[in-house]
């Protein structure tokens, strides 16, 4: 408890120090507010436009989370297919590797053509960016089961479904959670990229709008707010992970 308090104080001091440094650099070198606005100007822009920025961040996070959730569900289902069927593994794995090795940003215009300017093209982009690590890590978790544990279930003449449910899936949970921690920031990147390409709302759209108006203060405020929101979302996920992994002896490092 005391330790947590000390660490919290440390972190706060660190952030405050960074802001002071930022302020000092801007003042000392007389940096133009068009290049780097001072902290109080950014804060001012943030307060003036708070409703707009908060709403936009909400939209972007919503898009990201929708894509993320869809990626987790389909990713785990595909991993089950890959692990259960050799044919699926032969067909799906090369496809996935091919799609993954393409720079996924180039798909953004296609998604806009397909799903329009609204939310769905951003959800699609978020999905596309974070889907791959989930499939790969979930498949690894489903596969890397102690072979003698599988022998034990075969001895009891357990079906594939029972073995999946009782052994393979629980075994994969740390892998899936670890992959989710990689995937969440990717999903947010995907949503913002989608908004950069073509959008009518969201924080990425507001950043582009403020940029074209040379409103650097608003750009900074928007970027900061999204960063804070992302950090909070990530921390929430990490907390949920630690709750779920309390029963597991070792942690798994996911592969990106």
């Amino acid at each position: 408890m005391r330790n947590a308090f000390v660490r919290g104080a440390e972190a706060t001091l660190y952030v405050v120090a960074l802001i002071v440094l930022w302020w000092a650099v801007v003042k000392a070198f007389g940096v133009s507010p068009l290049v780097i606005p001072s902290p109080e100007r950014v804060l001012g822009a943030g307060i003036t436009n708070f409703t707009l920025l908060a709403l936009s961040t909400g939209i972007t996070l919503g898009e990201a989370l929708a894509g993320f959730a869809a990626a987790v569900v389909t990713g785990v289902l595909l991993a089950v297919a890959i692990v259960s069927s050799r044919l699926a593994s032969r067909l799906l794995l090369p496809t996935l590797v091919a799609v993954n090795s393409a720079p996924k940003v180039v798909f953004a215009p296609i998604l806009v053509i397909w799903f329009g300017l609204g939310l769905w093209s951003k959800v699609g982009m978020a999905f596309l960016l974070c889907f791959f690590p989930i499939v790969i890590n979930a498949a690894q978790g489903l596969r890397e089961v102690d072979p003698e544990l599988i022998d034990l279930y075969r001895l009891m003449q357990a079906g594939n479904w029972t073995t999946l449910r009782r052994v393979r899936f629980p075994n994969a949970i740390p892998y899936i959670l670890s992959a989710m921690k990689i995937a969440l920031p990717l999903a947010i990147i995907g949503a913002v990229i989608g908004e950069f390409v073509a959008a009518r709302a969201g924080i990425g759209y507001q950043v582009m709008l403020a940029y074209s108006n040379s409103d650097t203060e608003l750009v900074f405020a928007a970027v900061l707010l999204l960063t804070i929101a992302s950090v909070l979302a990530f921390a929430l996920l990490g907390w949920a992970e630690s709750l779920m992994l309390a029963r597991y002896p070792v942690s798994i490092e996911a592969r990106a």
Binding site: L149, D151, L155, Q157, T162, R247, Y248, P249
Partner: protein, 255 residues
Amino acid sequence: MFDQGPIRTVLRLDGVAKRFGEGPGATTAVIDFSLDVTEGEFVCILGASGCGKSTLLKLIANLLLPSAGTIERAEHVARRGGIGMVFQRPVLLPWRTVLGNVLAPAEVLDLPGWPQDTARELIARVGLAGFEQALPHQLSGGMQQRVSIARALLSDPKLLLMDEPFGALDALTREQMNADLLRVWSETGKTVLLVTHSIEEAAFLSDRIVVMAPRPGRIAEIVVNPLPRPRELAVMASPEFAALEGRLRERVAHA
């Protein structure tokens, strides 16, 4: 299938062989293995590493099919849950408690009665009362192996297969586990087939000892254990025990 007279055979292996691979690269793990196991018997299969002992257990468990020969199992052994298995490592589900692990077979098999009560009883019987809610990684290696023995007993299997179950434990824990295993065996009346490379263990536990010769794995001799039952650890200090050990050691050396 079997004669249901006063002495019941639960398992019969006749000329069993197992080859892995094909052509010139094939290896023969087990050859010409014939053995009858009687109900309630404790049989040890003794041999050095690489003489096909684990393959043999997998064949008996029907996890592998023999390349030649036949394996007959009595009806109550061949049914689902009729065979319990204990490996060298505990092979527990790390995310489940001791109780959850012992109960795991009940989720696969249709077990009569109250598996919860049976599981608690078995946990107590293997000496882990009070640890029902502990997770495997909170227990020592010996305790984890006790959990896996309790799990193997949950379905009340007629045949218990043990693949060097205490091989990974230190010598003192191992002796204690052996003594406890004999107690559980005499209380439950199971038929046990235990694979080991420890002469002492085989001599202490068994009714009969199948001495294996390596490459390819085959029977060198079947030795009937003359030591009286019930046995305590003290029996290991007796001259009869030493004589049996000597005989087995010589047999293994010339296998």
